[in-house]
């Protein structure tokens, strides 16, 4: 019996196929919808406070505008042949059985209105092509089901035309925002970033205090003065990391890992209080303008601090925006050192150092952990690391393998480009969507269960702040311990050899106890 087998409400039965197709359960998730943003929140982002009187007309107008501004939106609305290849690819469908969570059906909620208003057949023969007017019911469906899409792009991998439902969801949310029906969670957070600089609304003073506390912890642990510098002008590197890294578990352990890496190689680095957030929720609501405004903070911070490089911490969609869009939204970054990629991922940085032999590990420090790795969706399918396609899969694994002895991948059709979303991405990481979050996590939990059974895996590493929060919240429901989820740089932090660090017997002792508790049945032992 492994500790992962404890049962819970939604617990995963033995060896259930993560890809098993559920029976159709029409409209079973129709009631799932997030809280609507209050007028103040909406207005701060430049949207109408509440649903405007002529919302139908305005929504159609916006739809037309977006079809003219985004080729993806236009081409995808026209091109789908309803082949059905994507129907069983969405984790929310697999977890809920609601057919409106099949990617093509989700698109169709919007496509039927597009056809009615923008195509010849839809105007004159709506019954023939399934075209429909935008009614209140349709709007409600939009609000429900476009907030049951985490914009993870799994469907786009399998669609013969690469149709990306995320693009449709983003457009739908932008249309809804523009008529005054926004989502509280995302829009409130974007407002906080505009005001304070991070998703949590953590002000510079609080941030400074937090970092100082962490420095003390580091000193207690290692006996070394490992720094977490804030707003230090003239540093070489500016680290932009999700604000969850400053206070949430297991995120903090990742942050400590970055600090140790920087310390060990003597890098000059700093965090910025002005750009104290890697996440960019402008992406989730499909708003170029909001995404740009958030990105410009990073540019300004880099200029004000006079840094030479920008490095991003572990976060999925943040890395998408950083890798794929930052140059577009806030570039060109010609004032930075062009010998390094702009921006760079902390994993690229650490991986380079490992390759060059500049950091070394004592892998045995992680022997109490048998690890697997969850490819975060936005890193896997919307970005890259290193200079070869697929580096986003290899580099994190290379780091993990360098830092621990026991690493096992989950089933091939559930990782890398076919990875699932954790269930909480795309602006869904809010308590009012807990039901769909848990259902969406099911395929990943089943895949994890398999490696736990097959290889005695005890922990899963993730590379995204949202994944980490989501998993620590939903794992107990599937019978896993909430701290079975770890940061990549937490594994680094555990095992990195720091010059001059105290070899700490107390820590050793703690490790051993953890060891015994957490060790699964030895390999090959019968249950």
């Amino acid at each position: 019996m492994t500790e992962l087998e404890k049962t819970g409400d939604l617990s995963v039965d033995d060896f259930l196929d993560p890809l098993e197709r559920p029976e159709l359960a029409p409209d079973i998730m129709a009631e799932s919808a997030p809280f609507v943003a209050a007028p103040e929140i909406q207005e701060k982002l430049g949207y109408p406070g509440e649903l405007v009187d002529n919302w139908q007309e305005k929504a159609i107008e916006k739809m037309g505008e977006l079809a003219g501004k985004y080729r993806s939106f236009k081409v995808y609305l026209d091109s789908c042949v309803k082949c059905g290849a994507c129907t069983d690819k969405c984790h929310y469908f697999l977890g809920s059985g609601d057919p409106k969570n099949m990617p093509v059906a989700r698109q169709d909620l919007l496509r039927k209105v597009y056809r009615r208003n923008f195509t010849l057949a839809g105007k004159y023969l709506p019954w023939l092509v399934g075209a429909e007017d935008l009614t209140k019911d349709v709007l409600d469906d939009w609000y429900s089901y476009f907030h049951q899409c985490s914009q993870c792009r799994r469907c786009s991998v399998f669609c013969p035309y690469g149709i990306d439902t995320a693009e449709i969801s983003m457009a739908a949310r932008e249309i809804m925002d523009s008529v005054g029906k926004g989502q509280k969670y995302c829009n409130e957070i974007i407002g906080k970033v505009h005001d304070v600089g991070n998703n949590l609304g953590l002000n510079p003073k609080a941030l400074k205090a937090t970092l100082e506390d962490l420095e003390e912890d580091l000193e207690d642990e290692t006996g070394l003065k490992i720094r977490l510098p804030l707003d230090e002008k003239g540093a070489d590197i500016m680290l932009v990391t999700p604000s969850a890294d400053f206070f949430a578990e297991p995120h903090i352990d990742g942050l400590l890992g970055y600090a140790k890496v920087f310390h060990q190689v003597g890098a000059s680095w700093t965090i910025s209080s002005y750009a104290s957030e890697a996440g960019n929720f402008g992406l989730f609501i499909g708003s170029y303008e909001n995404m740009r405004e958030v990105s410009l903070r990073i540019r300004k911070a880099a200029q004000d601090l006079g840094v030479k490089r920008i490095i991003f911490g572990e976060c999925g969609h943040a890395w998408r925006v950083a890798y794929s869009f930052l140059n577009t939204l806030a570039g060109p970054f010609d004032f930075l050192d062009q010998r390094y990629p702009v921006p760079q991922h902390i994993c690229e940085y650490t991986h380079d150092l490992i390759e060059k032999g500049e950091i070394k590990f004592d892998k045995s420090k992680n022997d109490h952990i048998r690890l697997t790795y969850h490819d975060s969706c936005n890193v896997a399918r919307a970005s890259r690391m290193g200079d070869k396609p697929g580096g986003q899969f290899e580099i994190p694994r290379a780091i993990l393998r360098a830092a621990c002895n026991h690493f096992y991948d989950m089933a091939e059709d559930t990782i890398k480009e076919a990875t699932f979303c954790c269930g909480g991405g795309g602006g869904l990481l809010t308590d009012d969507l807990m039901d769909i979050r848990k259902k969406g996590a099911q395929p990943r939990m089943r895949a994890l269960k398999q490696v736990a059974e097959d290889h005695g895996v005890t922990h899963m590493a993730a590379i995204c702040a949202i994944c980490k929060t989501q998993f620590s919240k939903v794992m107990p429901d599937y019978g896993f311990d909430m701290d079975s989820i770890v940061s990549i740089h937490q594994m680094v932090s555990n095992a990195i050899i720091l010059d001059g660090a105290k070899s700490d017997d107390e820590d050793e002792a703690v490790n051993v106890t953890v060891n015994e508790d957490a060790m699964p049945a030895a390999d090959g032992a019968e249950a």
Binding site: D78, K82, M102, A121, F158, P341
Partner: protein
């Protein structure tokens, strides 16, 4: 290849003197005119409709880099990626083996069947078109079989039935109808191929020739014209669409090369910030 030639001028002169009339083929004349006009308009609608669509797709900006990764890092890589999708349906293969099998067989057979039809439009027939005639016979059956497979799936798999509108069924019925009527002419009720070829060459050179009056042929041609007409207004736009899909056709190089859409550049200029 011997076939009767009638001059277009004959229609313009004294109608009673036109060879068609002299032989008392008045109904055939009407049918010929109807189908000639039908094919001219269908061709015009298909080509113009597609041209307008393609122009719109080409002119609509893709403001952000959104290739589905891992993606190629060079233009050549993108060409290969698109080729793999267009020729092999690679993503579909990853997704679902049945849809892939039926869909790929249908499309590949359709391609062969279409090429085979070139013999009605070329004189002398290009040698590679002549060479593939034998192979093409199987293609006709394969095409219909693939389509029936797709249609059965559409009816029996609950997920696919759920997402199907009447037009999705009818589109398959239409193409099956084209395929079956074609096979019927080939194996059961032969038509006058020589006259048919004369008709199409006549259309191409604006020198109309009579069309055989066979009902099966007329059904076949009527359905083909219908398909051509609805092409630019239906989901058949997937054929040009795939080449404009940003997730497939973008190069993965956002860090190396700044990508900026025109409207985004205007936004930047109006708001300041950026570089």
């Amino acid at each position: 290849m011997p076939f009767e030639r009638y001059s277009l001028d004959a229609f313009r002169g004294d109608p009673k003197k036109h060879p068609l009339i002299e032989r008392g083929w008045e109904r055939r004349q009407v049918i010929t005119i109807i189908f000639a006009l039908l094919f001219y308009s269908a061709t015009a609608i298909l080509l113009l409709g597609l041209a307008v669509r393609i122009r719109t797709y080409a002119k609509t900006p893709a403001p952000l880099k959104i290739p589905t990764t891992p993606a190629p890092t060079s233009k050549g890589g993108v060409v290969l990626r698109l080729l793999r999708e267009v020729v092999l349906f690679k993503s579909l293969f990853k997704a679902n083996k049945w849809i892939w099998l039926f869909g790929w067989v249908f499309h590949f057979a359709l391609l062969i069947v279409l090429l085979r039809h070139l013999r009605y439009f070329t004189e002398p027939v290009w040698f590679w078109v002549a060479m593939m005639q034998d192979l093409a016979v199987y293609a006709g059956f394969a095409m219909v079989a693939g389509l029936i497979g797709l249609w059965v799936r559409r009816m029996v798999v609950p997920r696919v039935r759920y997402i199907s509108a009447p037009s999705d069924h009818l589109m398959l019925v239409l193409i099956i109808g084209i395929g079956v009527s074609g096979l019927v002419m080939k194996y059961i009720m032969h038509t006058d191929i020589i006259a048919l070829k004369a008709f199409f060459l006549g259309l191409m050179y604006f020198d109309w020739q009579p069309l055989p009056e066979d009902p099966v042929l007329l059904i076949h041609l009527g359905l083909v014209a219908l398909l051509m007409i609805i092409f630019p207004f239906s989901k058949l736009l997937h054929a040009p669409g795939i080449f404009f899909s940003p997730t497939l056709n973008q190069v993965d190089n956002p860090r190396e090369k700044r990508h900026l859409a025109e409207w985004a550049a205007r936004l930047e200029a109006s708001e300041g910030g950026g570089g």
